[in-house]
Each structure stands twice: as structure tokens, then as C-alpha cells.
Amino acid sequence: MSSETFNPKLVGFLCTWCSYTGADLAGTARMTYAPNMRIIRVMCSGRVDPQFVLKAFKEGADGVLISGCHPGDCHYQEGNYNALRRHRLLTKLLEQLGIEKERFRLEWVSAAEGAKFQKVCDEFTEEIKQLGPLNWNGGVNEHREA
């Protein structure tokens, strides 16, 4: 698929205190940005279980974003640091499974940064367009073809 016609599916896990509010701000301020992100609101970026990320890729996401409060600003003190540690380790594991690190992104977006959220969505969409579809084939069912 060429990057012209490929429309990436992106899943974004946004913490309710900062990033979701930031995304809301981008909306109420009528900023326009790529419509590719499917947003899932979570209480904290530290709530994002690595299983959620794997499931998103399996179910057809071409890229996954986790977005939380800036370091030091977490509503629960340290949740975003957990997200950071998990992100780095999971990125390494995903690369071993053939999923490029560009497809799994972590960003800090505060409640005041509507413009940053706009930029993240545009950039991420463009990057994944260049990279192409993931076409996760993990369930290859060769044993069902006969």
C-alpha cells in the first residue's frame, strides 16, 4: 500500500488528568489534526497494562501511543514513571517480535498542551504512513488451510 492511500489506525491510551484533558483542549480550541487516533481514556499512564498494547497491535493497530503527565506531575505521584519503564522494556520486546520501535510511542502531554497533542497526532500519523501497515499476522492459521 502506498503512503498516499494508507490510512493508519492508531490507538492512544491517554491519562485522564493531563493528556486526555490536553486532547480535549485541542478539540475545544478547534485545532485540526490527523483523525487517525482512537483514544482510550485511562486513569493514569501507569494503568496501561502491556497486555493492552499487545492486544491493540493484534487487533489491527498500526501504532500505539501512551500519553501521560510530565515527569513530576503525575496525579498519583509515580504512575508515569512506571509507564516510562514499561515503555522502554516493552519497546525492546516488541522489536524482538518484529514490531518497529516507531510504532510504540510514549509522550508527555499536559492539560494545557492542546497544541502538543495536535503535533503528536500529526507526527505519529505521518511516521506510521511512511512505515506502512503492520498487518499483524500472529494468528497465521496455516493449519486451518488444507
Binding site: K58, L90, V140
Partner: protein
């Protein structure tokens, strides 16, 4: 005949033979089993053929214990046959339960595995570059066939319906005996149960008391790099131990041998993906909030996918390495 003993079958697929050994390890208990049941199929020990199984009535075997993962079309054919003949199917051991060690083949595909096995290992002597073919036509026109080798290793329940799981590499004898007795007495748990307690290994671990108040890891060590304290929690010593994300019931054989848990019992019922759950646990005890230091620490974890999915890659959410990424 109502006095007829229940029939039992054993079969192996992609496995090392250790699970067959685990049946033999029942020792004198095996005699009790043999007294109570008729073993009608057990290729590793008894001379019954596939046609003998085919001749049996559907559903006439009370229970089939199948060990090993599914990697070949022949294994698929055999387990589909046994599924028809058996009332209950028990996935015996890590490989049929989770994919097991053969499941690590899911980091590659057929082509790369054949290339390694038949061309590039230092011990390969294959000047004509012969590789196994599914079909070979001989000079007299006769055709020989071999089973198809799949790109992907499957767990048993990805191929046929499975009633129970006996976890472990290999399953310990008390769990096997409990399973057999439960079946004989008809005291079975709900279908789909893993026949081992539904809690984590740490719950039963003797070293649990040695855990510090707040568990934190400042560095990651591999078991050969340090002298391991035989009393102290492995994670507290900087060694990756899969205990927190692994089901208990194994009798802590590895821990007693002063080796960390590698996760052969798979996760508890609450978890879909053992590796992801362990990753989550490990990341949260890395003792730094600094981005650069986190990356340095993560760099020292040599093979996260191979370590966290040592026994469970085919049963994980993503199941295998992406085919397009295999070179």
C-alpha cells in the same frame, strides 16, 4: 460391558520426551493406574498403531493425555483423530499447554529453521544441500511424502478443543496422579481448568520471607554472574525470576535447586499473557525514575522476549514474531 475398565491414551507431538518420562516417574503408582485403566494407545511404550485407534468407536476412550506442541501436519492429524476418539483431552505439560520450549521456534519460520538445521550449523555435513521435501518422486514413479512443517508452532488448544491442562516442564507426579484420580472418580473441576492451584509461585515460595519491604532492582544479573544466596529472593539479588507471573504447584523444583523460576507453569487464570504481565512487574521494580538510567538498565536485560516467553510464546497475545520481519 459395565465392568470394562476406562480406556486411556497417551500421545506425544513436538516435545522432548520428558513428559513421557513424567508418566514413568509415577513409579509404583503407575501400577495402580494400570490396574484401574486400560492403556489403549501409547506410541512411546506400547505397540499400537494409528489404524488401531481409527478402528475404535468415537468417544470410546475415556481420556487422552497429549504432550508436545503442534508443529507438523502429522501431529495435527493425530490429535484431531484422538479428539474424536476421546471423551476428555488433557494437555499434558508446558508444550501442549503453552507452546513450551519448541514454541521459541516462533521467533523464526520454516525457511530460517531449515536453513539453520540443514545448512549453517557447525555440525552440519550436507554437501549436496539436501532438505526434507513434502513430496519426493522416486525413479520407479512411486511418491514418498513427509508431513508438512508449519511456519508457526501451535499450542494444543489452538488446534483442537482441550478439556484440561496439566502444566509443567514436566508436570510433577502429584499433579498427574491427582488428575488421573479426579478423572477416575469423576470429581472434575470445570472444563478448561489448569489442574494446579490458581495463585502465583511467590505465594508458596520458601524465599518469600526474605523479600525486602519494598522490592527494588538496581541492577540485573544473570545467574552465572554471581554466587546465588540459596535463602534469598532471586529478584532481591538482581536475578530475573518469573515467580510473580507464574502459577504455583510445581513443588518449587528450580528454586530448591537454587535456580530462578523460568515460568513453565504458565500464568494464573487472571492473566492472558504471561510475558507481558511479568514485564509489567519487572519494570515497576526497576529502581530509577531517570530516563537515561532506565534505558541503561533495560539494556542489561539481554533477551526479554526469550526470557519472559520462555515457555509461552505460542500462547501469548502476539503468538510469534512478525513473518515480514524474519530475515
Amino acid at each position: 460391558m459395565s465392568t470394562e475398565k476406562p480406556k486411556v491414551a497417551f500421545y506425544w507431538c513436538s516435545s522432548c520426551g520428558g513428559c513421557e518420562e513424567s508418566i514413568i516417574d509415577l513409579a509404583e503408582d503407575l501400577l495402580k493406574v494400570v490396574e484401574a485403566v486400560d492403556i489403549v494407545f501409547w506410541p512411546v511404550a506400547l505397540d499400537f498403531k494409528k489404524k488401531d485407534v481409527e478402528a475404535m468407536e468415537d468417544g470410546s476412550i475415556a481420556v487422552g493425555f497429549i504432550n508436545g506442541a503442534i508443529r507438523l501436519s502429522e501431529q495435527q492429524e493425530m490429535v484431531e483423530l484422538l479428539r474424536r476418539k476421546c471423551q476428555l483431552i488433557v494437555a499434558h505439560g508446558s508444550c501442549s499447554h503453552l507452546g513450551g520450549i519448541p514454541g521459541l521456534g516462533n521467533f523464526w519460520n520454516k525457511e530460517t529453521i531449515f536453513n539453520r538445521a540443514y545448512h549453517t550449523t557447525p555440525s552440519t555435513d550436507n554437501p549436496d544441500g539436501v532438505v526434507p521435501l513434502e513430496k519426493t518422486v522416486l525413479e520407479d514413479g512411486k511418491e514418498l511424502t513427509l508431513p508438512r512443517f508449519y511456519d508457526t508452532v501451535y499450542t494444543l488448544d489452538q488446534v483442537i478443543d482441550v478439556d484440561y491442562y496439566l502444566p509443567g516442564c514436566a508436570p510433577p507426579r502429584d499433579l498427574i496422579m491427582n488428575a488421573i484420580l479426579a478423572i477416575l472418580e469423576g470429581k472434575l473441576p470445570p472444563k478448561g481448568s489448569v489442574l494446579s492451584p490458581n495463585k502465583s509461585l511467590c505465594d508458596d515460595c520458601d524465599r518469600n520471607d526474605s523479600k525486602p519491604e519494598k522490592m527494588l532492582m538496581t541492577e540485573i544479573k544473570r545467574p552465572w554472574e554471581i554466587l546465588i544466596d540459596p535463602e534469598k529472593c532471586f529478584l532481591a539479588q538482581g536475578i530475573i525470576c518469573m515467580g510473580p507471573a507464574t502459577r504455583t504447584g510445581c513443588g518449587e523444583r528450580c528454586i530448591i535447586g537454587n535456580m530462578p523460576c523460568r515460568g513453565c507453569f504458565g500464568p494464573t487464570d487472571q492473566v492472558y499473557d504471561q510475558g507481558a504481565k511479568f514485564l509489567s512487574a519487572l519494570a515497576s521494580i526497576l529502581d530509577t525514575n531517570d530516563e537515561k538510567e532506565i534505558e541503561k538498565l533495560v539494556d542489561t536485560i539481554v533477551d526479554p522476549a526469550g526470557t519472559f516467553y520462555r515457555f509461552s510464546l505460542p500462547s501469548s497475545i502476539l503468538r510469534r514474531k512478525r513473518m515480514e520481519a524474519i530475515k
